[in-house]
Subunit: 408 residues, 2 copies
């Protein structure tokens, strides 16, 4: 039987306000907001003042509140709230990917210890119900890979850069104006945000908890005019792709921009849309596409979690409990195309297999397969643009060393 | 707690054998096949003879069998099996879209009356978990439309015709050779199969049970060389699209081929893949893509249903129970392009708004908006090819009469 849930919100920004409106406009969910804890006392609020408090305890210690909906920016403060809420017997819904990625194993443990639920569909690819599907629908499917466009703001930027021939900065500004990108965009454009999401997705896909800092990521901030020219001349576009594979008994995963052929399904995923491609032994290739940014799409994912709580839903982490003991590893080679200003200390000797390159207008351009560790090194250099080839030909080391293997 | 389920299968064709292999290869599902009822005693079987029986009663009356998996062709015989299984206290998994579409309201009632579950994810778009998502994830989202490519064999045929410049008959033969199309392909190519799936999807999307014969459908069998030429010249492709909208307080739904711009997401859905686009007030546009034909993809959907039964899963038909009382109606106009041999009795007077046409090489070509009823009429004519415009501009009648309104 459906319970009428009382909610305590932390934060009332873009997603919080989206949730408020979604809750007000729909009639199917038996839940109501009782209290909203915010930080800034001087900010004008769009709804009644009686909803608001400035004291976390007003929510965390209120026995009437069943569910804490955590929607604040600060990952550390968020984790403190989540822990306290669970210890106080409340369920939690959150969309804080950084907090989740950095504490996922403890998030799992807290649910076991206190027999409460922490749901976070909105944290991975906004409106796309990927976690629910990984948990519920693909529990028997031997999934071999998950990959896709996990960040809405960079996809918006790349789309505008390609389709409207905007400069990177113009496109970034447009994304910020629409609320798709933060005022400090580095979490998005440097690839941290999709990496956090990939960390969470890997746990629900392969049953492996890893620390996000062990995932190699390359952002889009160094993509240059030569790269765009190359893409256009070869009927390609560029997307920031997060991916993880089960390969030779290990999980290999990373985030990097990639040249995508124009007839590939990811090329059709534009603007703030995200996409997740899941490949399994039986269901074969499956694609999920939906908005990955914006207050309503994320608010709707948060609402679906709240609705699931009215039915006592919990993630079962089935793949973790049926664990095959797979290690996560970073030893593999991938095919890349890199571009950089002449004089940069990169040469064909950095490649495992060098496929050629050319020089022109002060730029150098090299192509071939490199170790993932090279991507990590180059990602930290200014003006070096690393873009994966359309076919990455991922080749793991024959005896890869596991980066880590957390156990429950 | 997971139960170990004993299964009784009816039928051991393409999907049944896929299921057998999927069950054998996966280790996550606590289920085993006890008995398989088949018709043909003289057919060589790929697995042990002791599995087989020719008597339905050996399964239906076996108290040890928990779940009947119905995978036969004949819709009438299938419904008899399903009813008997439910009456005998068994759960049912089926992928028989014709049987389901024709009896959906009784299928719903049987589950209420006997407190047993009938699951049928494999019946709608093969491997795509659309029913589960409509039931579980979108229960609070005010869905306004569902549309997509619901038939794998016609999509395979259209892809081959366009991309490999095969003739319609060559492409049909290739689809049959791959097991994507039946030896009698008319259920697929005339649009019956996607119509059955649309009937089921409408029930789970809008909570409305309708009879499939009330849904207007146009097939792809009359698509001609002139249509292909028109498409190529205008950077379009052709897809067979099933669709239903909530519009002006009614549900309007139909199946027809449509010209699709090459940058539309449906254009990227090729070969035997299906796609479902769901649009809601909050989650906004969501797309699901996956294989819609083939023994493994459908077998994997059937397996997911079996797995769900180990957790006592049932469809809740929430949208039906929260019913808004929406009628289904066929009174609307849509934009089409039709082609037909000169001398056919079709003229600009058949259009609500006539937008022009031309004649050439014995063919006539007319464009404009027509009543849905006209589509129905023309669909039954030989050599008349009806293809929806890229933008259909669906306009419902101001006071549409409901075709039907079934109640529980």
């Amino acid at each position: 039987m459906k319970k009428k849930l009382k909610l305590g919100l932390f934060g009332f920004g873009c997603v919080g306000q989206g949730l408020y409106h979604v809750l007000t406009e729909t009639h199917g969910v038996k839940a109501e907001i009782k209290k909203i804890c915010v930080k800034n006392k001087n900010k004008a609020r769009v709804i009644e003042a009686s909803y608001f408090t400035y004291e976390a305890a007003d929510i965390l210690n209120d026995p009437e509140i069943d569910v804490v909906v955590e929607l604040i920016d600060d990952a550390e403060a968020a984790f403190t709230i989540v822990k306290k809420a669970i210890e106080n017997g409340k369920h939690v819904v959150t969309a804080n990917k950084k907090m989740l990625a950095e504490n996922l194993q403890e998030i799992y443990q807290l649910q076991q210890t206190y027999n409460r639920s922490i749901l976070y569909e909105g944290a991975v690819c906004g409106s796309i119900p990927i976690l629910r599907n990984l948990e519920e629908y693909y529990d028997n499917d031997l999934i071999t890979s998950i990959e896709g466009i996990f960040n809405g703001s960079t996809n918006y930027i790349l789309t505008k850069v390609f389709e409207e021939k905007k400069s990177y900065l113009e496109a970034l500004k447009a994304a910020q104006d629409l609320g798709f990108a933060e005022s400090d965009p580095s979490l998005d454009v440097k690839g941290f945000d999709p990496k956090f999401k990939l960390t969470i997705a890997i746990a629900h896909t392969f049953g492996v908890f890893i620390r996000p800092e062990n995932i190699i990521h390359v952002g889009i901030q160094n993509i240059s005019a030569v790269d765009l020219k190359y893409a256009r001349e070869n009927n390609l576009t560029i997307k920031l792709v997060a991916r993880a594979y089960k390969i030779n008994g290990s999980i290999v995963g990373f985030v990097a921009p990639q040249y995508i052929p124009s007839d590939h399904i990811l090329a059709a995923v534009r603007n703030e849309y995200n996409a997740v491609l899941v490949e399994g032994a039986f269901a074969e290739k499956q694609v999920f596409i939906g908005k990955g940014a914006g207050s309503y799409p994320t608010g709707s994912a948060v609402l679906s979690d709240i609705s699931a709580l009215t039915f006592d839903y919990r993630y079962e982490y089935k793949k973790f409990t049926q664990d095959d003991g797979l290690p996560f590893c970073n030893e593999a080679t991938v095919d890349v195309l890199i571009s950089f200003p002449e004089g940069t200390l990169i040469s064909h000797r950095d490649f495992e297999t060098f496929k050629g390159g050319y020089q022109g207008k002060g730029y150098q351009y090299l192509q071939g397969s490199v170790q993932l560790q090279k991507l990590k090194e180059w990602a930290e250099w200014d003006e070096v643009s690393v873009i994966l080839a359309p076919q990455i030909n991922l080749t793991p080391a024959s005896q890869p060393a596991a980066v880590e293997r957390l156990s429950a």
